[in-house]
């Protein structure tokens, strides 16, 4: 319902007044309520994550250039829309253009301006850990008869080997 004050924003609070003329109701948005000295937001600040997920569901378009599934963690954009969380760092590559749009909406920018970072050179054993991790995933995928996933993992292992 629109705010009775500004007639622009959605109302968040209903004031009920009863006097000699009877009962009147006034619907106000946060700002107009605040102007009348009524606190609408003190007791319950907005649950940021819930809002965020709603925004994701509403706004995130499936971009034509994005792949359907992250090849590292096999999350989909739909998973992200449900939970509001990405599965792994590689999701940023898989869903890059959708995420760039989303980041712009959330932060008003999509380019990092903070400190720069270069990861340390990986040791041989780190590559080995990652390979072991992928082989473990492959084994599980085969066990659970997720053959598409298994094929993807096999390709990844080949690249690393």
């Amino acid at each position: 319902m629109l705010c009775d004050g500004c007639k622009e924003r959605d109302s968040v609070i209903t004031l009920t007044r009863s006097d000699a003329q009877g009962v009147t109701e006034l619907h106000l948005c946060e700002r107009c309520a605040a102007e009348r000295g009524i606190e609408t937001q003190l007791a319950t600040p907005k649950p940021a994550l819930t809002d965020f997920i709603l925004a994701v569901q509403k706004q995130l378009p499936a971009s034509a250039t994005d792949s359907g599934r992250c090849s590292f963690c096999s999350s989909t954009l739909r998973d992200f829309k449900t939970t509001g969380r990405l599965g792994c760092a590689y999701c940023y590559g898989a869903f890059e253009s959708s995420l760039r749009d989303l980041l712009r909406r959330v932060h008003g920018a999509s380019r990092h301006q903070g400190k720069s970072y270069r990861p340390p050179q990986p040791h041989v054993e780190e590559g080995a850990t990652m390979l072991a991790e992928l082989r473990d995933r492959l084994r599980r995928a085969v066990e659970q008869e997720q053959f598409e996933e298994a094929a993807r993992l096999r390709d990844q292992i080949k690249v690393l080997e």
């Binding site: 940021a48 980041l103 380019r111 990092h112």
Partner: protein, 360 residues
């Protein structure tokens, strides 16, 4: 039972009221969200993967000079009461403690605790580095957490993208991964009804506010956590400078509001605050919300110098130690709600009686 007194700072250094503006600002906290390359984020990872992440981080922390002497607490091996205790002490988040029935504690959930620092492992992100300080000290807290970040980032590879910055599980943290927040007590602005204006002003400046326990928590006892809303597109320095600038304005408005209260309604205010003190001093049963609200009044009375001989440190201690898990630990057993209310009133009476005698 988990003994927090064994921590490097006893787990309470941020309560000691030694920082700047300590009667208005309880604490300053900065956290950086980081993830390790090559592993799924904790929410998506399987048990074994999270344990491998923990092992990698353990190795890095053991060699890291800024984290020397930190104590590892395996949150996933603690009982529910102990996890609640860590959360009440503001040392771990609700998520890491696994306090929501729908999201129980994850395997590999752990925290390194140091002198005013923490490294949360396998929370929403692999790493949450945090620095917690008494009073108002954003730049100082950042210096501490930045040193931890620089050193750990040389030991383990963080997930970083040239355009998006540090990559995090939730895109609301992407970029700097930094959330700088200040826990501030604003009874003057609430009583003078200026708070709505102040809070909407904050939002226009790109800041946001929450209750005492972070995201989704209610505002009780006039305590607000004010923090930056966005993490991408601005440098860490920019975020810190802006938060510092805005908070200085909020602090001075709060001080003005307190002066106005004393000037315009001295007797009403004085009576209200002494009543709050009287209730805390003599009540036999107190709910947590009641205690928080009366403590807010007494804190204001101390700030206005209406009550003397009561230290801000004691008030901070009352805030933390009158919570359910802390009371249960002090009593040495699980408490029902009504038993907790009795224990809370007893604890508050005791602490205030210990400090009384110098005023009246």
């Amino acid at each position: 039972m988990l003994d927090l007194s064994l921590l490097p700072d006893g787990g309470v250094s941020w309560l000691d009221a030694s920082g700047e503006h300590a009667s208005i600002v309880l604490s300053t906290r900065i956290r950086l969200a980081r993830n390790l390359e090559g592993f799924a984020f904790p929410g998506r990872a399987r048990d074994g993967e999270r344990l491998r992440v923990l092992a990698r981080i353990n190795e890095a922390v053991s060699e890291s000079p800024p984290l020397h002497g930190n104590v590892l607490v395996r949150v996933d091996e603690l009982a529910g009461e102990e996890r609640l205790l860590l959360h009440e002490r503001h040392l771990v988040s609700r998520e890491l403690a696994g306090l929501d029935p729908q999201h129980p504690v994850r395997s590999g959930a752990a925290v390194y605790l140091g002198d005013g620092t923490g490294v949360l492992i396998n929370e929403e992100d692999h790493l949450r580095l945090q620095a917690l300080r008494s009073g108002f000290g954003v730049a100082e807290a950042y210096a501490t957490v930045d040193a931890m970040d620089q050193d750990l980032g040389r030991r383990v590879p963080f997930a970083f993208h040239p355009e998006f910055g540090f990559l995090t599980s939730c895109p609301t943290n992407t970029g700097t991964g930094m959330r700088a927040s200040v826990l501030i007590h604003l009874p003057g602005l609430v009583l003078t009804k200026e708070i709505g204006k102040t809070l909407s002003g904050l939002q226009q400046m790109g800041l946001t506010y929450r209750g005492l326990y972070g995201e989704g928590s209610e505002v009780v006892g006039n305590f607000f956590q004010i923090s930056n809303q966005t993490t991408l597109g601005r440098s860490e320095q920019d975020i810190i400078e802006q938060l510092t600038y805005v908070l200085r304005t909020v602090i001075s408005r709060e001080e003005d509001a307190r002066r106005v209260l004393l000037r315009d309604a001295p007797y009403i205010i004085e009576d209200k605050l002494w009543r709050a003190y009287g209730t805390l001093r003599y009540a036999r049963s107190l709910t947590f919300e009641e205690a928080m609200n009366y403590l807010s009044g007494v804190r204001l009375a101390v700030g206005l110098k209406l009550i003397s001989g009561l230290s801000v440190y004691t008030l901070n201690k009352l805030l933390i130690f009158s919570q359910a898990a802390h009371l249960a630990q002090a009593e040495g057993k699980a408490l029902t709600e009504s038993e907790a209310n009795l224990a809370r009133a007893r604890y508050v009476r005791q602490l205030l009686a210990d400090e009384a005698g110098t005023h009246g």
